[in-house]
Subunit: 417 residues, 2 copies
Amino acid sequence: MAVATRSVTDVCVAARAAARRLAALDSGAKDAALHAIADALVARTDEIVEANANDMEAGREAGLSAALLDRLMLDSARVSAIAAQVRDIAALRDPVGEVIEGFRLPNGLDVRKERVPLGVVAVVYEARPNVTIDAAALCLKSGNAIVLRGSSSAAHSNAVLAQIAAQHAPEGAIGLVEGGREALAELARQEGLIDLIIPRGGEGLKAALREVATVPVIYAASGNCHVYVDASADPDKAEAIVLNAKTQRPGVCNAAETLLVHTDAAPAFVPRVLRALRGAGVELRVDGRTRALAGELAGELLDAVEEDWDEEFLALVLAVRIVDSVEEAIEHVNAHGSGHSEAIVTADAASARTFRLGVDAACVYVNASTRFTDGGEFGMGAEIGNSTQKLHARGPIGLRELCTFKYVVEGDGHIRP
Amino acid sequence: MAVATRSVTDVCVAARAAARRLAALDSGAKDAALHAIADALVARTDEIVEANANDMEAGREAGLSAALLDRLMLDSARVSAIAAQVRDIAALRDPVGEVIEGFRLPNGLDVRKERVPLGVVAVVYEARPNVTIDAAALCLKSGNAIVLRGSSSAAHSNAVLAQIAAQHAPEGAIGLVEGGREALAELARQEGLIDLIIPRGGEGLKAALREVATVPVIYAASGNCHVYVDASADPDKAEAIVLNAKTQRPGVCNAAETLLVHTDAAPAFVPRVLRALRGAGVELRVDGRTRALAGELAGELLDAVEEDWDEEFLALVLAVRIVDSVEEAIEHVNAHGSGHSEAIVTADAASARTFRLGVDAACVYVNASTRFTDGGEFGMGAEIGNSTQKLHARGPIGLRELCTFKYVVEGDGHIRP
C-alpha cells in the first residue's frame, strides 16, 4: 500500500472520506484495529529497524548531533515500547459519545452536548519516528483520520511505520505526506479537508505555519517555566522541587528555566539551592542580588542578561532572580513565561491563592514540580502534544482534546414562537 | 474620553493591560459596571439617537437598502432594549472560576480545571450598532477586555455607544478602533495582545481575515440549514417545523434553506407543504420529483439549479428535494450544509439515531425547528455569535465560550520520580 507516493491533496481527500466512516465506528472496532497495529509492529520489528538504520546512516553522514541521533534511533526494545503504547491507548475510554452536559429547556426541549471526533487532524513533527505511531493511535482511538508529515531525516522509518499502521486501520484513515516547505504550506491550506494541524517542532516550524496556515493550528508548546520560592516556603520541599523541575529531564518543555526566590527566603535558601544545583551540574545565570548571597560559589556563577529570562534553555542551565513579593514574581512570570507550567512553593495560603489566580498559564502548581504537566501524568493516558494557546486545548492534548462536540436537541414538534 | 482616536496598537496595548486587572475582578464589581453602563445608556438616549441620525442620513444618501437602514436605526425603545440586555447579562452567573472538572491523581496531587477569561477579544462587525454594547457587556461579564471594530456606516452610533461603555468600565477594558481593511489587518496580526477575533459579517469579511489573520479567529457562522422530513414523520408536526424554520425569521443564520423529503412521505406531504409555504409567500426552487407531485402549484415553482443547494438565501426562498433514504438526506446535508443547524422530523427511533450520529453540524435537531440555535434559547443568556467551526466553540458563543481554563495542581512538595 503506497501511502507515501500520493499528492498532499489526494491524501487529504482520502482522509476526509475516511473520517466520516471513522466517526461512526464503535470502540470495539477501533480497539481491534489498534491491537492489529501493535501486533504488526512487533511482527515486523526487523523491517522497521532496518529502515531506521538507513535514516541513522544518513543522519550520521549529515552530521546530526548525538542527541538527535538518539531521538531518531529505533531498536527492537523501542519498537516494543511503541507497540505497548498503542495497546495502552486502546485500553483508554473512548471519548466519542461522551455527554459533556445535558439539560432540559423551559419549553421541554432536551439539549445534550455530545463529544464527536474533529474529523481530520494533521500532525507535523520532527525527528522522533515514534510520534508516527503515537499520533496515529490517538487519532484512531478518538475517531479521527490523520495526515502525518514527518521529518525528512526519519523518512525511511516513518514510511514503514505509517504503512504498517495504515494497513491495519480503515482505508484512508492514516496518511503520510512527504515534501518540503511547499508541501507543508499545501497541507496548511486544505480548508474543508483538514480540521486541525498540530505542529510538534521548533519555532521555525511554527513561524512557517503561522504565515501560511488557513486551517486552525494548535501550536504544541515551548515551555519557559518558573519555580517561585515564596518567603514561607519549606526549604527542603523547595529545594527538592527546584532540583526536580530543572534536572529530572532538562530537555523537555515542562522543565524549569528560571528560579525566582522571595527576598525574605533568599539568605537561607539561596546558598543551599545554588550548591545543590551546582552539584547536579547546572549552569547558573544569576542576578546581582543572588550573586551577593552566593558566598564561595560566586566564582561559579554567570551574570544573567536580559535575554536569559526569556530563553527556554532545554539544558542544565537555570536563571535565578530574587524578587520582593509574590506580586513581583507573578509579574515576572507573566512577562517572560510562555504560559506553560508555573510553580509556587509556599506555606502561606494567601500567597498560594494570589499566585494561582494571577499567573496566566496552562498549568499552575502549588507545592509541586512543573514536571507533572503531561497527559500521562494527568491521567489522560497519552498526549499528542502540549498546548500553550488558550483556544480549544490548553495544556496536554489528549483524546478529548482531539474531539469537538455537537448539540443534540430533541423535541416533539417544537417550533419557536 | 477619546476612545476612537488612538491607533490600533495603542488600543490593543491598553486592552491587554486591562485584561490582567479584569481577570481578577469579582462578579460584584463587574456587575456594578454593567449596571452603570445600562443606566448611562438610558440617561444618554438623546445623544445616542442623535448620533444615530447622522449615520442614518449618511446611509440614506449612500443608498443603503431599507433592511440595512432598519438594522442601523436606533430609537429610544431600541436603546432601552439594549440597556435591558446589559442588565440581563449582569444577572447571568459569572463563568470565571467555575471548576470544569477536578480529580486526585494516584500520587495525591489535586488537579482542578478552572475557567478563566481568554484575555482580549476583538469583535469585528457590520452595521447593527447594538452589537457594540452586547459584545462589550458579554466580554466584561466574562472578564475579558474587548476591542471593537464596527462598520463605517455606523461610526457615529458606535463611537457614542463605545464611549459610554468605556467610561463606566475599568480603564482600557473597552476599546474601539476605526479604519478600513488596513486597520482590520493590523488588528488581526496583534499576536500577544489579542487572544481571539470574532468576525460577525459576510463572507467577504471572513475571506479578508482568513488571508491575513495570525491571531486565532472564530468565524461566526453562515447557516445553510436543512429540514429533513422522514418517511414516518407526523405531517402536521413536519409542516409546522418547516414553516417555522423557513418563515419565522428568514433573514437569520438558523433559518432553513432547503427542505428534504423522504420519497415515501412525499406524495401526501409535498402538496400540502408546498401550498402552505406558497401561502406564506415563500419562493420555491424544486427538483423534478417535487415538481411532479406539485399538482396545480407546478406553475408557481422554479426549477432548482445545483447552486441552490449551496446557497444561504436569508430570504423567503426555499429549495426542495426528494430523497430515497435518511442516508441520502445525511449525504446531502454533509455535502451542502454549513455545519450550523440541521433537523430531522421523524417518528422512527432508528432514523432519528442515524441522522443524529451521521450529520456533522453544531446542532442536530430531532423533531424541532432549527430556529432554536441561539444562546438565549439554549439558556446561555446571550451570545456573541454562532460558531460553525469545530475548535473551542461550536454553536452559540456565550460567556463560557469567551473563556479558557487553567489547570491548578496542588501538592505537598510533590516531585516527579
